[in-house]
Symmetry: C2
Subunit: 349 residues, 2 copies
């Protein structure tokens, strides 16, 4: 009798993915743990979804999501062949790894940053080199260059710190680097600056964006890369033939077209972020200045893990990382004013 | 100044994907070239999509599409932990390759079969060994076993031949094989038999299904694997964390729950398939008996490529493969009665 077939050693050694806590359907919680936008998506997104008909679903979608590429190109002032659409920016990151990094090639990133990068690198049998952030969460340019990496990835603004590296500093790294510099701008809609202009000047810079945060569409799974046409063409060979579904393409177009609506939510999140950070400060928390829709803050007098559990007991989910440098902190998603008030009211002292 | 970053040699050497011809929006063609179901999806699918609200989109979806798993498990008489949901069965196939085949490991398949397998293997730097089908499109069991493969994939019913290998013959291969046997049942809803029962008996058999053909949802991108829980658990580590979007999960549940509707379309396609094959036969075509929603047929007197172009000129798209053993044939998707009549009327003689 055949046995269970053997999986790759590298896979059997991987820890299974532990998804962020999701409340059960119907459970009433204040969910400030996975950095979703607290406001609903643009009404135009729902209109687009509700207009879908059977013929649209029966046929294969556009392999490159052409209509989305054209719209996003116009919004960003780039050409359509500089846009690669994906099933969430996680898929874009995975495609980038598969396109640029073979077995044994080095991926470098500052630590801590998005926890997906090492998982993707493991699947492709890449070598991973991490470099600590410089003081003040500044990009460690020299140390990253010294890794001899073929690709450098980092989230900007960064997770879980919420900090932003200025575009001039990112440019400095890109100018001195021969490989792919992927700037993962998942949270950039809440920031003061972005690195988009660098793609016009520097062919080794790739910008990665998502609809999960800024456009309130985490459920949709839609992200995209912006990069030199030659890079997009190579990545297109590696992606699944039809990686974006017909409904998501329509919804993403409707969302990105409604910049006025999106900007309203970004402004509201930024205003609540300031207020939340200020109120936490008054209560003795040390809050890292955030350019995202969350704050990373040090619990006064320690006990972050215990407080996380106590908040959960009260129906308020936040995020605690049991890791060196993070264990004394909580990462709190900026919610609506009511949600933030509820959190503040639940804090001790 | 930095140059374009280098991509992996294996990627730069890949030919870019050439999508099947898609008519431009508004263009009126009879599209019998990419094996879509000619009937619309169940009305319940559209109801499910039209019920989506902003809260559903704002939040991350279920990482494992739990509600779909439960529904599909009930329909198929398996446990929910035997179901892995994916962004199209193409993603399921890609995840299987990444889970079971490292660089240098061998993937074997009978030739011709689904043209995606070698593309996936190339990205993972696997070795590929192909084996010709036995006479009568029978599974070459001994030759496949002799390859020393870690995994064997094949489409059943097969594309582009439309032929089915009986489950007893598949079982024979699985019993003698130590690696993963992936039976890609994309077209199985139109066939007389399927291999689902084998997963209960044989831990090395994985069944792959899709909503693109049988459920008229090619635009949705939803597929799934059915296999031993241990295999599903390992593959879950390799997939993107949130690989299925919230709308697609709802739509897939609605589709698979409406078995009565789906079966009506399958019966109609099978009836039209018989009629189309019969009419082609009367006109001198040699038609391979099909268990799918397409027929592969040899053009009487040659000239398949020229006929393909002439049909296209008349607004009828079919598929021609310019490959040894296939160049004298056309692959024709079974359309509605009206579409098939139009095709038959356009044939010479």
């Amino acid at each position: 009798m055949p046995r269970l077939p053997q999986v790759r050693t590298i896979v059997s050694q991987m820890a299974p993915y532990v998804p962020g806590e999701q409340p059960a359907p119907g459970e009433r919680v204040i969910k400030l743990n996975t950095n979703e936008n607290p406001f609903p998506p643009s009404p135009r997104v729902l209109e687009a979804i509700h207009s879908v008909d059977g013929e649209h679903l029966r046929r294969y979608p556009s392999p490159q999501a052409d209509a989305f590429r054209a719209t996003a190109a116009a919004v960003h002032g780039v050409s359509a062949d500089m846009i690669l659409a994906g099933n969430g920016s996680d898929e874009i990151l995975a495609i980038a790894v598969r396109t640029f990094l073979g077995p044994g090639d080095t991926l470098a990133y500052p630590d801590p940053t998005y926890s997906l990068y090492p998982v993707l690198a493991a699947t492709c049998e890449n070598r991973v080199v991490t470099v600590p952030w410089e003081t003040g969460w500044e990009l460690p340019v020299a140390a990253l260059l010294a890794t001899g990496a073929r690709a450098i990835f980092f989230a900007n603004p960064n997770a879980p710190t919420g900090t932003l590296v200025r575009p001039s500093r990112v440019r400095e790294l890109a100018l001195a680097f021969d490989g792919l510099l992927l700037v993962d701008e998942a949270y950039v809609d809440f920031a003061d600056e972005n690195c988009l202009a660098l793609v016009h000047e520097l062919p080794n810079v790739m910008i990665c964006r998502t609809f999960s945060k800024g456009y309130s569409l985490a459920g949709l799974r839609f992200g995209y890369a912006i990069a030199a046409p030659a890079l997009v063409a190579e990545m297109s060979k590696v992606k699944d033939s039809y990686n974006c579904d017909a409904i998501a393409i329509l919804a993403a177009i409707a969302a990105i077209e409604d910049q006025a609506y999106a900007r309203t939510t970004w402004r509201a999140v930024r205003a609540e972020r300031s207020r939340l950070a200020g109120e936490l400060g008054k209560r003795g928390w040390e809050v890292i200045p955030s350019q995202t829709n969350f704050v990373l803050a040090t619990c006064p007098g320690g006990g972050a893990a215990a407080l996380y559990r106590e908040l959960k007991r009260q129906g308020i989910l936040v995020r605690h990382f049991d890791k060196p440098g993070l264990a004394d902190k909580l990462r709190i998603t900026v919610g609506t004013a009511e949600q933030n008030d509820a959190l503040l009211a639940a804090l001790p002292g």
